[in-house]
Amino acid sequence: MNRHAVREVRRQVRESGAAGFVAVVLVAVASAWGGALWTARAWVETELLASDRPATVVAVARGPAEAAALREAIRQRAPATGVSALSPRKVQEELANWFPELATVLLTLDERSFPPILEMEVSASEEAAIVPWLQARPEVTLVESSRAWQARLQRTISEILVAGLGLAVALLIGCGVVVLLVVRLLVLAHADEIAIMRLIGAHERDIRRPYLLCGSVLGATGGVLGALVLAGLWVLFRAVLPTLAVSGWTYGALPVGGALAGAAGASIGLASLPSEP
């Protein structure tokens, strides 16, 4: 890129004025939003939904005798599986702790009203086998697995992420449209220059490049601001979520994404240019 192009880009950016500022702010908001969502997704997947984590399986037995038989059956099936049992009394106390407003009622009930529960930690592969096995057992009334809850949580989070990223993309498209309008305004303001540039032998690329770069610069600036906002959010949330981390890739992608959105908007804005006088 020659000095002329550099000077022209600087001038176009300066002349884009308030409209250019709006474009930069929009890109910053869109990219910060997208980056935050992406970071949240990565954190949730690593911290909450890691597929290699052991799963907790809980089986509710029909009674104490069935619980003992079930424990023995589990020991025979998989001797290495650690099983902890919660007696009806313990279940009663746990429920009273969880629901203090119902504690009085719960604690007046006969402890035999509460079923014994067996809780075990199993590997991800073992979980897939043991859950149907437990469900088929006559001693068991209910089986719950943390993995099933994880799957539900993952589905919900995926839906939220898709909606959020959709919003980020919509915002980025909006940014592209704003940059398009900014570039169109610049082209209209410089129509005489463009016509004269053609006349004195400027190549098409010489004419378009400053506008395209102006769009990219506005987008990239917005992306950099978005990355700074994201870094600020990370500092804020780090105290609450110490394992939260923003990847360097995310920081790098925001200015690039902004620049691409700006360039795309600018290239549409340059679809038709004034011809020579």
Partner: protein
């Protein structure tokens, strides 16, 4: 320098040029004259390749414009200087910037840009107005800046479309003297004008256009 062979051009079915055949030799000074709508501007637009003819061939500086690829047009125009009635200066740029614009586009070093701008503006008598903006100049000065811009790349051919149209008679004569000087220095000059008195005051070969045809090709002498 310029060869037109059977050139026709129409706009929305209305003919602007009808079978023009003529040549302009290197170093010549030629007027195009005729009433409004005779085809003078169309003639020039074809020569600087702003338009393509409907039929016929145009060769300028050895280049066939009808077959020229779009990307070669820019290079071709760098060997031309074009001057307009309304000057077409860049309003937001100073006189020097208007003149160096083409040089900066071609990535000339800054010092060379300034040197060339100074020399060409000095030739136009405007070296003291280099930092002025076009609106601060008189019509005659603006036209001289436009000529300086046209000359800064030392073109082989200068085309002027009604260059004196916005100037008073005195400035018009000064302008023609300037164009004549440029011509004496070896540049081919083609001037489109409907000002018969100007032609008579600065005699040269004249192509008379009417209804898109060359009706007379003659040397106009002073009355």
């Amino acid at each position: 320098m310029i060869t037109l062979e059977g050139i026709t051009k129409s706009y929305n079915g209305r003919p602007a040029l009808r079978g023009i055949t003529t040549t302009v030799d290197r170093g010549e000074f030629v007027y195009l004259t005729g009433p409004s709508g005779a085809g003078k501007s169309t003639f020039l637009r074809l020569v600087y390749r702003a338009e393509l003819p409907d039929s016929g061939a145009i060769v300028v500086n050895g280049r066939d414009l009808t077959t020229m690829r779009r990307r070669d047009v820019a290079e071709f125009r760098r060997r031309l200087g074009v001057v307009f009635q309304d000057f077409k200066l860049l309003r937001r740029r100073t006189v020097a910037e208007n003149v160096t614009f083409v040089l900066s586009l071609l990535n000339f070093p800054d010092r060379e840009q300034q040197r060339r701008a100074y020399l060409v503006l000095k030739q136009m008598g405007l070296q003291h107005r280099m930092s002025a903006y076009p609106e601060e100049l008189s019509g005659g000065e603006q036209q001289r800046v436009a000529i300086a811009r046209a000359l800064v790349l030392q073109p082989d051919l200068v085309l002027a479309d009604e260059p004196s149209g916005n100037l008073d008679p005195e400035r018009s004569h000064e302008l023609m003297e300037l164009l004549k000087t440029i011509n004496y220095q070896g540049t081919t000059v083609v001037v489109a004008t409907h000002d018969r008195m100007l032609i008579e005051a600065h005699p040269a070969r004249t192509l008379f256009l009417e209804h898109g045809r060359v009706v007379k090709d003659a040397w106009v002498a002073a009355p």
